[in-house]
């Protein structure tokens, strides 16, 4: 099975395996990472220093202009990206970890356990994730880690379902049966033989989950429940809404950064899926 896995190739394995749109996605994501790390550190402006230059349009001193308090928009976008990318990465980590565990257990064990857990998963999936997250954040408070935790804990069912479907197929493969015959323990069969073959699907899931977490966090921020101490791209958009008539740059650039990053994650997800053999574009 490993032989056909495109991620076990020579140098630049991921790059080689991806189609053009997948590569575009990877580039967009790397650009966002670069903006939030290297560029953020090289800037002379801090994201929170206020200046006399209030709502100044993009120019030589402030490349992307300044906001209503004279803060540099480029610096705010670069540092806001750190928060948004963190939300994406950690929410996806939580969601995918739970999803893989539940999906693998259901797919491998099957039977009554599978039936009960999948029913619960389906019911859980109907409850609107965004509104539930909104209620929880309103009740427990708007800390950025609370938002990350809530989004992560509410987003696992999608991963669980795709992983389960794949494990269900792999379980009947000969190399898995051989491992079981050879006396490997259940955890070893799942961990060493099944999961490595589900890896591309997990990567797709992680990438799409990260995008959707960043998007949902921006919705939450836009409704006034963002973490003001850690201004993400979503929070910048909410603050920019007030000045949309006389400071288009205040919300346009954070929105552009947010959309291009999510687009990158979605393109990358689709690209990995295509590299793994599904060419329809979506699951």
């Amino acid at each position: 099975m490993n032989a056909v896995n495109p991620f076990h190739a020579k140098p630049w394995p991921v790059w080689r395996a991806l189609n053009p749109s997948g590569r575009t996605g990877l580039l967009l994501l790397l650009t966002a990472l670069l903006l939030c790390t290297a560029v953020a550190w090289m800037l002379q402006h801090s994201p929170s220093t206020m200046s006399e230059a209030l709502r100044e349009p993009p120019g030589a001193a402030h490349w992307l202009g300044t906001d209503d308090l004279g803060r540099d928009v480029l610096a705010r976008v670069a540092y806001g990206g750190q928060i948004s990318l963190m939300v994406g990465a950690f929410s996806a980590l939580i969601a995918v970890s739970i999803g893989v565990a539940v999906g693998a257990a259901c797919g491998y064990l099957g039977g009554a356990f599978d039936a009960v857990v999948m029913r619960v998963t389906e019911a859980f999936q109907i409850i609107p994730r965004f509104f539930l997250a909104l209620i929880v954040v309103a009740l427990v408070g708007s800390g950025i880690w609370k938002i990350i935790l809530v989004l992560g804990l509410l987003s696992w069912p999608a991963t669980a379902r795709v992983v389960r479907a794949q494990v269900l197929v792999l379980r009947k493969e000969e190399f898995v049966l051989a491992a079981i015959m050879g006396g490997a323990s259940t955890t070893r069969v799942i961990g060493r033989h099944i999961l490595p073959n589900v890896a591309p699907i997990i990567a797709v899931s992680a990438s799409l989950q990260a995008g959707s977490a960043i998007l949902l966090e921006s919705f939450i921020s836009f409704l006034g429940l963002g973490d003001v101490a850690h201004p993400s791209w979503g929070l910048l958009l909410q603050q920019g809404q007030l000045f949309i008539r006389d400071g288009w740059w205040i919300s346009t650039f954070p929105g552009l950064a947010l959309s291009l990053t999510i687009l990158g994650l979605n393109l990358l997800g689709d690209g990995i899926r295509a590299a793994h053999g599904d060419t329809t574009g979506t699951s």
Partner: protein, 325 residues
């Protein structure tokens, strides 16, 4: 059985299956209120309440009783449509929601109809020419729409068409300065709807096109498509009569599954455009720390999502008799 009878049957059966989910949502809301670090009496009464009002709340919600009894009372009253009283508006939450919901549905359903028509057509167009420029353009467009926050699309539309071009109004449902009557009133309404509906259409279009295109590509690979071609059916007929009905099963299912996300898009879009619907209510509830209103809005939207899933399930069972069990 005929289609209408089958539809009624399957809606009836699904109503029975939806009941436990609605129940679970109400129980979940209760648990969340109890789990929050704040005293529920304070949550229900608002910040800095008078002591006697706090006592009244405690008595009204039986907060001095056991948890089990409280749960029973909460679920009982919620299922009877009593979602408490809004602290800020000083009105029953149910009344407020019912007053605001139609305006939201006007926006959501109008945009959904337009987005479905355009989205399905684009998806058929793209899937019929896989790998061509058209296909790439449609795919890229839908992926871009899928990646943009709905409210940012709204902000960009306001910037372009209200601020820079000055063609359309950007706020509210009607002009505040003038009063119109008859046909002029209607025109004024429509003008106010154009921008919010357009931003929602772009948002929904992305989802519909993305999933319908994928389903069409799958459908076109099936044997029955080859058979239809072999029988001499025209390309148009194969696309719209043979492949599309099968692809639509996916579209309808996705619309049900994503209905919560679509409503979320409506809620944030309403705020951008000052549209006086549920979004406004959510925003006020959060801004004023009005928890009865917030939990009420949550229960209402969740029930709407459950109902939407039920309806799309039922429609799928008519579109595709194989799924009707």
């Amino acid at each position: 059985m005929h289609a209408p009878a089958r539809l009624a049957m399957s809606i009836g059966r699904r109503l029975l299956m939806a009941a436990p989910v609605v129940m679970a949502i109400v129980v979940l809301t209760f648990v969340l209120i109890r789990l929050s670090p704040t005293d529920p009496a304070v949550l229900l009464a608002g910040d800095a309440p008078a002591p006697e009002f706090l006592e009244k709340i405690r008595a009204q919600y039986h907060l001095d009783e056991s948890i089990a009894k409280q749960l029973a009372i909460y679920v009982g009253s919620a299922l009877q449509g009593d979602l408490g009283t809004s602290i800020y508006f000083r009105k029953p939450v149910t009344e407020l929601i019912l007053a605001h919901a139609p305006v939201t549905f006007l926006l959501t359903l109008t945009s959904l109809v337009i987005a479905s028509a355009i989205g399905v057509s684009l998806a058929v167009l793209a899937a019929s020419r896989p790998g061509t420029g058209t296909d790439t353009a449609v795919t890229a467009l839908s992926l871009a729409g899928y990646s943009m926050p709905a409210f940012w699309i709204g902000q960009l539309l306001i910037l372009s068409f209200a601020v820079w071009l000055g063609w359309l109004p950007s706020n509210g449902m009607g002009s505040a300065r003038e009063t119109f009557e008859g046909f002029e009133w209607f025109v004024d309404r429509v003008r106010h709807m154009v921008l919010p509906v357009t931003s929602l259409v772009l948002f929904e279009l992305a989802i519909i096109t993305r999933f319908t295109r994928a389903a069409m590509v799958q459908a076109l690979r099936q044997d029955y498509v080859a058979v239809a071609h072999a029988k001499g059916a025209s390309q148009t007929r194969v696309l719209w009569r043979h492949a599309l009905p099968n692809a639509l099963v996916t579209t309808v299912t996705v619309l049900g599954l994503e209905f919560g996300f679509l409503l979320a898009g409506s809620v944030v879009t309403e705020i951008v455009f000052g549209w006086p619907g549920l979004g406004r209510l959510f925003f006020d509830a959060i801004f004023r720390r009005d928890f009865p209103l917030l939990t009420g809005c949550f229960i209402f939207t969740s029930v709407m999502v459950v109902l939407a899933n039920m309806v799309t399930d039922a429609v799928v069972s008519v579109l595709d008799p194989r799924t009707a069990r």
